[in-house]
Amino acid sequence: MKILVPVKQIAVVDEDFELRDDGKDVDPDYLNFEANEWDDYSYEAALNIMEASDGVEVVPVTVGPDDAEDVLRRCLAKGGDRGIRVWDDALEDANPAVVAQVLAGVAAREKPDMILTGTLSSDRSYAQTGVALAAALGWPHVAVVTGIEWTPGDPKATLLRELEGGLVEKLSVECPAVLTIQLGINTPRYASLRGLKQAKEKPVEELSLDHLGLSGDSLAELASFRVRRMYKPETGQAELIEGTPAEQAARLAEIIKELKGAA
């Protein structure tokens, strides 16, 4: 039994930043790279399933350049014996329809019994990859999952799906399925130092598009949009309260008093 967990290295912009020369993204010099928060929860969910049953393998997979291996090592430090990283320069700026197709290629090789992705990655917030991956595989799928009852081998899983306003849906899904996992479903563990050390020794398979029977050109055709430009939105109307913290607090207290009086 195997659970495949796609994880992503996300980019966070510095406080002051500049755009790339082509204006289509942030200049990489101003980006910091981190693991996507949602993937902490999907990976934890997979580890929980693994630890509750015998003979379950959890395999983190990422689509990203060399340094994206860090996110895999971080996962492996928490559990799991091997990871997979897919990369090709053609995947630079790839949009979620393309990443989904690449992940489908990995799933075709690995034949997992379940795939858990994050609902979202916080750099671009597309919220598409998991469900598009399910479509590419022709698999059942459920998005924004906050509860999983499933023992590997079961033909169905019972899930909770978080809706708006705190409402939750209970539903069942046929397996194998792709579930996109929402924050709060569990409490992700930290990678221990010992775990991180051990993770360095664990194998990470590097795959090219060739290995997956894909080509950059055919993937390019799958792109569902093209970025024309990025720009800083007009900054908001907040009136900034300046001064020392004491002065700022004094003014803030005054404003609260005024507003309360007027209200």
Binding site: E15, R124, G166, V173, S224, A263
Partner: protein
């Protein structure tokens, strides 16, 4: 004349008000493109909703009967793909909701449509449709287009477009969707727990803390501060997810909307769309954040770029 196809959404017998916002966005897009606007109602009894979406500017309401009472992704996918096949719309639009997250990307992938999610601006230019969405925690906007795509699917950010007031008299038609094999089954809805905690939807003054609070032990001092000022303590999602405050205190899309709030003090909250969904209507938002670029400042009336602990400490001294 092309077509803009809006997919309406409903739950527990209620039309999702966000669908009316999408209809408004579609009608605005019609004015510049000349495309007709069709609203599809996919439901067990579409008649329940057909009248509600017949807004001025809508040309056609198409009723799509399906055998399921609540949202089911395979059913929606099959219906929307069949509609798209039959009508070749230039644009398919739906609200960027949890249900849409569950089917729209699959529709786009299967139909090989152009696709952009969480879009808050859209227009036609000489080369075709252009959509605008955010990136990097709202710090940037990105403009995207869809070269070579006959059909583009957009999920539209909620609380951006104003629903249309006036009713219209669109043609009403029916469409038979192919039967879909459903791989998920709705079991039940679970309502949020009634905790007996304060009802933040009724609070007039809120002080909300976000991840900037750092750790659980720090929560208490902000509780005291809120009490001292007569504010109700609320929070962003990570605080509730960590169990530092009950879920009933969470403001936002999957939490509560602070409907009656007049002053909202946001401390250490970045201003994600999902948080703002619950508070951006508040007339007096005051934000304290270390990061001058935090998007909470784009909706705040007053802002302090600074450390929430320092400001809190000074505020306490003010009070005494």
């Amino acid at each position: 004349m092309g077509e803009i196809l809006v997919i309406a959404e409903h739950r527990q017998g209620q039309l999702n008000p966000a669908s009316l916002e999408v209809i408004a966005a579609a009608v605005a897009l019609k004015e510049e493109s000349g495309h007709k606007v069709t609203v599809a109602v996919i439901a067990e009894s579409p008649d329940d909703f057909a009248g509600l979406v017949a807004k001025a500017g809508v040309d056609e309401v198409v009723k799509v009967p399906v055998p399921v009472a609540s949202f089911q992704s395979d059913t929606y996918e099959a219906a929307v793909l069949a509609l798209a096949e039959a009508r070749k719309p230039a644009v398919i639009m739906c609200a960027h909701t949890v249900d849409a997250w569950g089917y729209a990307p699959a529709v786009a992938a299967r139909g090989q449509f152009g696709c952009a999610t969480d879009v808050f601006e859209m227009r036609f230019e000489a080369e075709g449709l252009v959509a605008v969405r955010a990136a990097y925690a709202e710090k940037l906007h990105m403009e995207v287009d869809f070269p070579g795509k006959e059909t583009v699917l957009l999920t539209v950010r909620t609380n951006v477009f104003k629903p249309l007031e006036d009713d219209g008299s669109p043609a009403v038609t029916s469409f038979e969707a192919p039967s879909a094999e459903a791989h998920t089954e709705h079991l039940t809805f679970v309502e949020p727990e009634q905790t007996g905690d304060v009802d933040i939807t009724q609070a007039e003054y809120m002080l909300s803390i976000g991840r900037g609070v750092g750790e659980e032990d720090n929560v208490e001092e902000f509780k005291e501060l809120a009490d001292a000022f007569g504010f109700t303590l609320g929070c962003s999602r990570p605080i509730a997810d960590n169990g530092w405050l009950p879920k009933s205190r969470q403001v936002g899309q999957s939490g509560k909307t602070v409907a009656k709030c007049k002053i909202y003090l946001a401390l250490g909250i970045s201003g994600s769309v999902q948080h703002m969904a619950g508070m951006k209507h508040v007339p007096n938002i005051i934000a304290v954040n270390k990061d001058a670029e935090a998007s909470i400042f784009t909706i705040a009336k007053y802002g302090i770029v600074g450390d929430m602990f320092e400001i809190a400490e000074e505020l306490r001294d003010q009070d005494s």
